[in-house]
């Protein structure tokens, strides 16, 4: 039993933490968030130079061979810094699919660009009707000689507006909710018949609605095997879920710490408001929420990195925990900051919005509690 980190892991966490402290303060983050760009290309280059874009990929693909623990450490820091750069969408989601199932050629064409920081990619993991079910896919891919023709709609494609490559899960067989019959396609965003509406999200990230009207792609665009995309999708979404939970816990701790500090300096009735028991107990509740969430994160990261069979269930437990505890921490932080807590000016508001977005992302607390129950029954 050992919760200590290796020297390399500690160095990685320190390096991200230092970057946030020195080069990504709240003012700079807000400048990026409020610009017309979806993220800072300059900062993305820095990520690549520091090797962060290579962390989760194996060494033969040009990566650094990091696992869930490394991702957890980085994402916690990204949470603390409210980083808007598309690490999740580009590296963990799109890169995760290519790493797991991409052919040598696809890896050369796309993954190496992702690792170098020169290519933006996205994974279209949701459709308008699907809510949080990744198997609910109505988009069709029809074989046509050595080509496929794709038609359908993809919703909330993170990084979808900036992506040059969009990975499209489409149905090649089976009924709309079947796990079988899903195939993943690597589709260049400038393909004929692909249109997109880009937008920013409430938490200053960026996404797009993508429509595919008879988009014709060669059979070499298939990632992995035909009809066998669901398992890859599920593995990647699970890893991404673990990653955003780590990010959420970084945010929760930051909100909790900032709230405690604020309560020591804000004076009303002649005393710091932190001296009031009504507020003290609420801050103890948020401390407990942070500690319990952190404990589940460690459990889940360990199970995942050791490849244990109950890792999937652990991920749902963690997402449920982060959904419920995160909401508590965020709402209490806003409440205790009083009127300032609901201003655009204060960072608390932006942590709140990101945490709320993570609460929904890849399935909310209710969805994951039910998934946990269903996985227990198996």
């Amino acid at each position: 039993m050992d919760f200590s980190l290796t020297e390399e892991q500690t160095m990685l966490a320190d390096s991200v933490s230092r970057f946030i402290a020195n080069d990504y303060n709240f003012e700079r983050r807000m400048k990026i968030a409020e610009s017309d760009e979806n993220f800072s290309a300059e900062i993305w280059q820095t990520f690549a130079e520091l090797g962060w874009t290579a962390v989760p990929f194996c060494e033969e693909d040009g990566g650094l061979g990091g696992g869930p623990v490394e991702l957890m450490l980085m994402m916690e820091q990204f949470g603390r810094g409210l980083v808007v750069e598309p690490y999740l969408a580009n590296i963990i989601l799109a890169g995760g699919v290519l790493q797991r199932a991409g052919s040598d050629e696809q890896k050369t064409n796309w993954l190496s660009g992702i690792i170098e920081g020169s290519l933006q990619a996205a994974l279209a993991f949701s459709e308008p009707q699907a809510r949080f079910e990744i198997a609910d896919i109505a988009t069709t891919a029809t074989a046509d000689g050595d080509h496929f023709t794709l038609s359908g709609q993809k919703a909330f494609v993170l990084n979808g507006g900036s992506a040059e490559l969009v990975i499209i899960p489409a149905r090649t067989a089976g009924a709309q909710n079947d796990t079988g019959g899903i195939t993943l396609f690597a589709v260049p965003a400038d393909s004929e018949g692909l249109s997109r509406k880009s937008y920013k999200t409430v938490d200053a990230h960026a996404a797009a609605e993508i429509t595919l009207s008879n988009v014709r792609v060669p059979a070499t665009s298939v990632i992995g095997d035909v009809d066998a995309g669901h398992a890859i999708l599920e593995a990647v979404i699970d890893e991404a879920t673990l990653a955003v939970c780590a990010e959420a816990i970084g945010i929760m701790r930051t909100m909790h710490d900032k709230t405690v500090e604020y309560s020591k300096s804000r004076v009303q009735f002649g005393v710091p408001i932190g001296s009031f028991q009504a507020l003290q107990h609420r801050m103890v509740d948020t401390l407990i929420a942070c500690e319990q969430s952190h404990s589940l994160l460690l459990w889940t990261a360990l199970l995942t990195s050791e490849g244990k069979p109950d890792a999937r269930q652990a991920i749902s437990a963690l997402k449920y925990q982060v959904g419920t505890a995160g909401r508590l921490v965020a709402e209490e932080a806003v409440q205790i900051h009083g009127g300032m807590g609901v201003t655009w000016e204060l960072d608390i508001a932006h942590y709140f919005k990101r945490l709320s977005a993570i609460g929904i992302l890849f399935g909310n607390a209710d969805f994951h509690l039910d998934r946990y129950v269903n996985l227990s029954a198996i």
């Binding site: 050992d2 919760f3 200590s4 028991q277 407990i288 500690e291 404990s295 129950v373």
Partner: protein
């Protein structure tokens, strides 16, 4: 980071598992499994079996007959004893007073008291709370006035668990009011329950049983060598006592065993009826508490990992009592919910006697679930209420 035990730790785990499987008496196990309470005889019989194995005092140093185990071994032991649903040693002697005696007591006190605690020959109870001093314990009023080689005790202790079965009581008493801080006037004394002037009055608790008492002291004369350590240091010793409980205070392994039994119960079908486990609402409640408990298990392991390498436990340790008691209470409520109507028959005999299954009202321990639920509302009240725990955390962890 990894979560596996070493080879030695796994061997120890097997040894403990074998011991509980072979030596825990079947009739006591049946009572435990049905949620009944144990008698003094049950406890003494079982504790003497643990003593014979050398496992009566897992938290003591070896020089006094303890095991000298590492924190990880204690953790494994706690898991295995809970897995067997065997009761822990009653805490008052072995966990509460003994560490104070061997840390602060005289050689004479160690020789006189420790062996009988180890062998379960002498039973102890705890005299801390008073009618006017609950959460605000430092306001306690029971006096110990020096008179030659004696102290004269006057006052009342309350909520005294098992005082009616105990041979001795350890008390926090006021030896001085002439101090800057009221905590400094408090001393720690040991009192033979047979001393003239000690009377015990029952307090019947919500489930209808006698578990706690009020203990009155009227001109009770005890020798000064029943004072432990220095006069006026009792408060400090009392705080040390709390640290001895830290790693096991959450009751994680107990709750894991309860959860396992709750799931078995929910999976049962009775007279061809539906299984509660198939009810999605109930399944969600079980899942939610299971997740909470898993988080607490790792919060406890984080504490343990820190202690194992000689570090002081971090802020995560202070939340163990709050979360642990809330989870126990949630499980109690779910057991009662699972029992349906059979939570309602009030059959006190089934709560205290090992009844054969076919003579019981309700299935298994269903009628005991409500009594357990009502009784265990105490868990968030005793040992410093959860609100007091939050005050402590606010002050010492958050710096408020």
């Amino acid at each position: 980071m990894h979560i596996s035990f070493t080879k030695e730790e796994r061997e120890f785990q097997q040894e403990a598992r074998r011991f509980f499987a072979e030596k825990f008496p079947e009739d006591i196990k049946r009572k435990q499994d049905s949620g009944a309470v144990l008698s003094k005889e049950d406890y003494v019989r079982w504790q003497k079996i643990m003593y014979a194995k050398g496992w009566a005092a897992i938290n003591w140093p070896t020089e006094y007959g303890g095991t000298g185990w590492t924190p990880i071994q204690m953790y494994i032991f706690s898991n295995e004893i809970a897995r067997a649903n065997a009761p822990d040693m009653l805490p008052f002697g072995v966990k509460m007073v003994a560490p104070i005696i061997y840390t602060f007591g005289s050689e004479e006190q160690k020789a006189r008291f420790l062996p009988d605690i180890l062998e379960s020959n002498v039973w102890w109870c705890q005299g801390y709370s008073e009618p006017g001093s609950g959460s605000d314990l430092a306001s306690l009023k029971m006096r110990a006035d020096r008179d030659g080689d004696s102290y004269i005790l006057n006052g009342t202790k309350t909520w005294t668990t098992l005082a009616h079965m105990a041979d001795w009581i350890f008390c926090l008493v006021r030896t001085s009011t002439d101090v800057a801080r009221r905590q400094e006037g408090i001393s720690f004394v040991l009192v033979d329950m047979q001393t003239p002037g000690v009377t015990v009055r029952p307090i019947i608790t919500i489930e209808g049983e006698r578990e706690v008492n009020e203990v009155h002291f009227e001109d009770v004369r005890i020798p000064v060598n029943n004072l432990v350590g220095e006069e006026g240091k009792g408060w400090t010793y009392g705080k040390v006592l709390l640290q001895h409980e830290r790693t096991n205070i959450a009751g994680v392994a107990r709750s894991q065993n309860s959860l396992k039994r709750l799931k078995e119960k929910a999976a049962q079908t009775i007279h061809g009826g539906p299984a509660l486990a198939d009810d999605q609402n109930f399944a969600r409640k079980i899942a939610a508490v299971e997740i909470d408990l898993k988080a607490l298990e790792y919060t406890q392991l984080r504490t343990l990992a820190a202690v194992a390498v000689g570090k002081a436990p971090g802020p995560e340790s202070s939340i163990l009592k709050i979360c642990g008691s809330e989870i126990q209470q949630e499980l109690d409520a779910l057991f009662m919910e699972a029992a349906g109507y059979f939570a309602l028959p009030y059959v006190p005999d089934q709560y205290v006697i090992d009844f054969p299954e076919d003579e019981r009202i309700g299935h298994g321990g269903e009628t005991n679930t409500s009594l357990r639920y009502f009784n265990n509302r105490k868990a968030s009240i005793y040992g410093g209420s959860n609100e007091i725990q939050k005050n402590i955390i606010a002050k010492h962890v958050l710096g408020l």
